[in-house]
Symmetry: C2
Subunit: 183 residues, 2 copies
């Protein structure tokens, strides 16, 4: 229910083609609302049909030709409505926690290596976020938009920090465990 709104936000920040959107989803909005190019194209079609966005006029529109979209007033209004509306947090789902819990009954054999791998992934993600922070949010520059976006980035940083720390703790505890748990 939120992909169209993610796209509207991205397009308001800068009108783009499907592929450009896909790229930007990989680097920024996608950090908390990921989407594949297939989803994005499909959704662009719907948004256009609904009159929320329109294709920027080009010379010869054709398949395999860049097509940029911009947000129409109706789209902006819809985004504003959605942003302001009260919404319940969606339930989280975390496979790793589930597996850890499962390993309490079927044994921890094999999971440790994957914990290490996840730790490495989270470390890398954290480094990437910190890079972005250094680049996009230097000490000065405190416009209202910057403050909001920085807030979002900080959430990402702190979440990755949490996972990094938690996984480190978990691995430490694994060291103290008898070899493969129960089962």
């Amino acid at each position: 229910m939120s992909l169209p709104h993610a796209i509207l936000t991205a397009l308001l920040e800068k009108p783009s083609s499907g592929l450009e959107l896909t790229r930007r989803f990989d680097r920024s909005i996608g950090y908390f609302w990921s989407a594949t190019h297939q989803q994005i194209y499909r959704e662009l079609g719907k948004l256009e049909a609904d009159g929320h966005i329109r294709a920027l006029p080009t010379e010869q529109p054709a398949r395999g030709q860049k097509k940029s979209y911009e947000v129409l007033p109706a789209g902006r209004a819809e985004l504003a409505r959605w942003t302001a509306a009260s919404q319940d947090p969606r339930p989280h789902r975390d496979t790793l926690l589930l597996r850890l819990r499962a390993s309490a009954v079927v044994g921890t054999e094999g999971i440790e290596a994957d914990l290490r791998r996840h730790l490495e992934l989270h470390r890398r993600q954290l480094a990437e976020y910190e890079e972005i922070e250094k680049r996009d949010f230097p000490p000065g520059r405190d416009t209202c938009e910057d403050k909001l976006r920085h807030l979002v980035l900080r959430a990402g940083i702190e979440l990755e920090t949490f996972w990094t720390r938690w996984l480190t703790d978990a691995l430490e505890e694994f060291g103290e465990l008898p070899d493969s748990g129960p089962a």
Copy 2:
């Protein structure tokens, strides 16, 4: 792809009927893998068809009659296989962060109230987790299973702690913002 494994885990911890599972999902496993009773019943059917679980024999089985399931060896093996297999973290999706980012372009009107509401929800969840910790994990009792389950619970506690703090910070920044941002 993980609901069947969540159910297997829960059933290994204790054989249960569909409704009992639903209740336990609401209080424990569901904290990181939520499911409705409809999903659970459907999945129980599939798991039984696959020979992973079986219904415990009862006197007169009938609709509207409690039916308990237990895990068969094949089910346990499947769970062990899945737990040990390497898996990539699934992308997170967070509506609130998305809305905050959107509010940087369409204005913050209306979102503050919902931030407060979320803060309250996370505080409550945190309190619930801490209650569980006090009840189920008193200082002694360090069996291997307990350690693993405690680790999972601590992840929940720390995540809620993070959200509580982050939302508090965010609301503070909102106080300093000019009235409704851009737009």
